[in-house]
């Protein structure tokens, strides 16, 4: 019984924290981008502009939630829900600290990758149901990009799985006690990070929403809370990729002095800040360049990483 209550507390706490942080990320991102562009960012509403999040929320909630008459209504409403559900589901297997996990699956990593792939559906459905050429182009790009980058996103993590000998995220963290996997798997880390950028459709790879060519890509027709859900989904996706990166490569909750959960939060925040730094500095490649990078460079590198890691693991045995 107490087990059940514990899980419920973890689930409710996780949901509350995730949704708040995802909302807060909009402020953090604008603030950090501002700082890196020699501006201040939003700093007028409340202390340090923190209440900007509240102001944005009020604005989005009170906005007209318009469904275009030419759209496929059911799918149009369903699409933003799918992205939130899939990204939130992925968090169930992430081990934040010893014992703080919703579902301690022994194939946690596979479940997570599968769930994050499911978010493609959201974008595909959003673009299709909008009945708008820009939305469709955006979602087509997103599908192509996410499916191709998923391939080596999974492959780049397999090196870590080999070293740890488990798909369970908790066990992977535990096996990093001696050395974080970012050292032996540096290539895997870089490949995973690039794939993560593409998976979350962040700026160097934000072709699906490329403002200056496609209006807003797949969420062109969305407004109000539905638009906010896409946004929330994107930010939760960033948190997810960062958390996964910390778990797989930076030793999860391991670290001296601070309590384990604090370590996890600190590391995740660092990775998120790096995500934002990338957004502030790198331009967007052309679509064919994106595909060439994915299939001609990243996939062979991921395979090479896999083979070399496998050989070393085999030789050590």
């Amino acid at each position: 019984m107490s087990e059940t209550i514990r899980y419920i507390i973890i689930i409710v706490g996780l949901l509350a924290v995730l949704l708040t942080v995802a909302g807060g990320l909009t402020w953090i991102e604008r603030r950090l981008l501002g700082l890196w562009q020699e501006r201040y960012g939003p700093n007028r509403v409340g202390p340090f502009g923190l209440l900007q999040v509240v102001a944005d929320m009020i604005k989005l909630f009170t906005k007209e939630d318009w469904i275009p008459p030419f759209a496929d209504k059911t799918v149009f409403v369903l699409a933003p829900a799918v992205i939130i559900i899939t990204t939130l589901m992925s968090f169930t297997v992430i081990t934040f600290a010893p014992g703080i996990v919703v579902a301690d699956l022994n194939i946690g990593l596979l479940f997570l990758l599968g769930m994050s792939s499911m978010s493609v559906y959201s974008i595909a459905l959003a673009g299709w149901s909008s009945n708008n050429k820009y939305s469709l182009l955006g979602s087509m790009r997103a599908m192509g990009q996410m499916i191709s980058y998923e391939v080596f996103m999974g492959l780049s993590l397999m090196g870590v799985v080999m070293l740890a000998g488990s798909f369970n995220l908790g066990d992977i963290v535990k096996s990093q006690k001696g050395m974080w996997f970012c050292v032996p798997q540096i290539l895997g880390l870089i490949i995973f990070f690039i794939a993560g950028l593409a998976e979350t459709r962040r700026i160097p790879f934000d072709l699906p929403e490329a403002e200056n060519e496609l209006v807003a890509g797949y969420h062109t027709e969305y407004s109000g809370m539905k638009f906010a859900m896409f946004f929330l989904g994107e930010y939760i996706g960033i948190i997810l990729i960062s958390a996964l990166m910390v778990t797989m490569f930076f030793g999860g909750w391991l670290g001296p002095w601070l309590p384990p959960l604090m370590w996890f939060i600190v590391k995740t925040c660092m990775v998120i800040a790096f995500f934002i730094l990338i957004r502030g500095s790198l331009p967007r490649p052309r679509y064919d360049q994106l595909m060439a990078l994915g299939w001609k460079l990243m996939l062979p590198l991921a395979l090479l990483n896999l083979v070399v890691t496998g050989a070393i693991v085999l030789a050590r045995r």
Partner: protein
């Protein structure tokens, strides 16, 4: 690849550089005295209106936002009966100031004139006239101009010779 890392590092370094933002209501940039802002009507050193209602400013105005009506007082001095500037049309080009022969109309370094209602952007003479000389001190049109008004005849202005008596002009 190296250039990407270099870019990231340089962007990160911007965290420590000086901000370019001027946080407007809290801090303001110093405005030069010739800034073209809110238009005023000035008075001469004697405290009289400088405007002689010559209409040059309203003619020079490219958007036609100045309206005035000329009239005369008992001394024969021309002055505007009303003087109206519609600031919702004004583009602050300063042509009126250049056209003014008496330094009456002047632009000032003030730009905070937002209103909630559009009619409030129309300034009447009492809103425009200030109790001073503005940017040009010590200038009084009637004191230097050869125009006759009550109490000052032709030839009595500063630096003005008495008018030539054409009948005494002998070849």
């Amino acid at each position: 690849m190296l250039s990407v890392i270099r870019t990231l590092w340089h962007v990160f370094l911007h965290l420590f550089s000086k901000r370019v933002t001027v946080q407007y209501p809290d801090e303001r940039r110093p405005l030069p005295p010739r800034w073209r802002g809110r238009i005023i009507l000035s008075r001469d050193p004697d405290g009289q209106e400088r405007c002689v209602a010559c209409h040059l400013c309203s003619i020079a105005c490219p958007v036609g936002c100045i309206a005035l009506q000329a009239t005369q007082d008992e001394h024969g001095r021309r002055y505007p009966e009303f003087f109206r500037i519609n600031f919702s049309r004004c583009i602050f080009c300063g042509f009126c100031e250049e056209a003014c022969p008496t330094y009456a109309i002047q632009l000032t370094p003030d730009y905070e004139m937002s209103e909630y209602k559009r009619p409030n952007m129309v300034y009447e003479k009492e809103d425009l006239t200030i109790n001073g000389q503005g940017k040009y001190h010590g200038y009084n049109f009637y004191r230097v101009a050869g125009l006759a008004i009550n109490g000052k005849d032709k030839g009595e202005a500063e630096n003005e010779r008495p008018p030539v008596d054409v009948r005494s002009l002998m070849p």
